[in-house]
Point group: C2
Chain length 148, copies 2
DNA sequence: TGCTTATCGTTGAGGTTGTCAAGAATTGAA
DNA sequence: TTCAATTCTTGACAACCTCAACGATAAGCA
């Protein structure tokens, strides 16, 4: 895939550059929070995808993580060895294995989502008006993009 | 360090959750762009820190990357083997080694910064007014945070 | 001056993430 | 049935990352 020549407006570029900078600075904080639960980022990422009510086939995890299927095997191994998930037989197709949250895993997932959405100081310190404006713009951003 | 109990406003939390989601989706795009130059994310991150005019001591790279010094050794090894940086003697202190960009490395750094600030479709598709508002809010965010 | 302590970068061990290639089991279609 | 495609696993390999230990150097202090 060819990298598109830079056509983005300087304004959008500056805005995204700032987001990137804040995200980068926020990363170590998130990793530290996850470490309290003994989770790495990819493990937390996978855990987040699992709805407590609805197990997912491993190949769908790989799709969503945009990674090789063999990678999911290893991540699932580690989550399973900690008792956070379990492998179940796939309904209908005996090739697929479904990943399902255990009760412990469901609790861990709650904390993971909590940590991932916890805003960094830069955002939390914004005025209520700025926070609302930011939220609304971002809502429009994902809404518009989904309909591209 | 204890994880702070969630005191952030639901609005800030939603806004940051959306940022997180966009960043995550944007990540594979960035990685693909970096791969065209044969760079991994940590390598690109380190490259970005190096001003063409001002070499940095390795320990400062480790500080900014928030990682162990021994990790920088490996990353520098790989960047050096590709001819993007070179190790120089530290001025004054013979223990420190400075990392300096080669001309090739300076060009690679330009492309890295370009790729890292390239906004994802969600942001690029925003109206000019929204882009400006987003930029201004984020400017305030980092400005306020630096004075906390 | 010497001794001690601290710092800087490297090395080696070990764990996690990630890719690719190959393989067993299963499915589905010719 | 036979053949091709899929689902997951395994093994090999590379990069990233931490920790502990080490040599070289620096800095403080008796």
């Amino acid at each position: 895939m060819q990298t598109a020549p830079s056509q983005a407006s300087p304004i959008a570029r500056e805005a995204w550059g700032t987001v990137f900078q804040i995200s980068l600075a926020n990363r170590w904080r998130l990793m530290a929070a996850l470490e309290e639960y003994g989770l790495t980022f990819p493990q937390a990422h996978a855990l987040r995808l699992l709805d407590p009510e609805r197990p997912l086939p491993m190949n769908e995890i790989a799709d969503r993580l945009v990674c090789d299927a063999s990678n999911v095997t290893g991540i699932a191994d580690r989550l399973e060895s900690r008792g956070l998930i379990e492998r179940r037989a796939g309904a209908g197709d005996r090739r697929v294995k479904m990943l399902a949250l255990t009760p412990t895993g469901a609790e861990a997932r709650e904390r993971v989502i909590e940590a991932m959405t916890e805003p960094p100081a830069e955002i939390a310190a914004l005025s209520p008006a700025d926070q609302r404006a930011l939220r609304d713009i971002l809502r429009r951003a994902v809404a518009d993009a989904s309909g591209l």
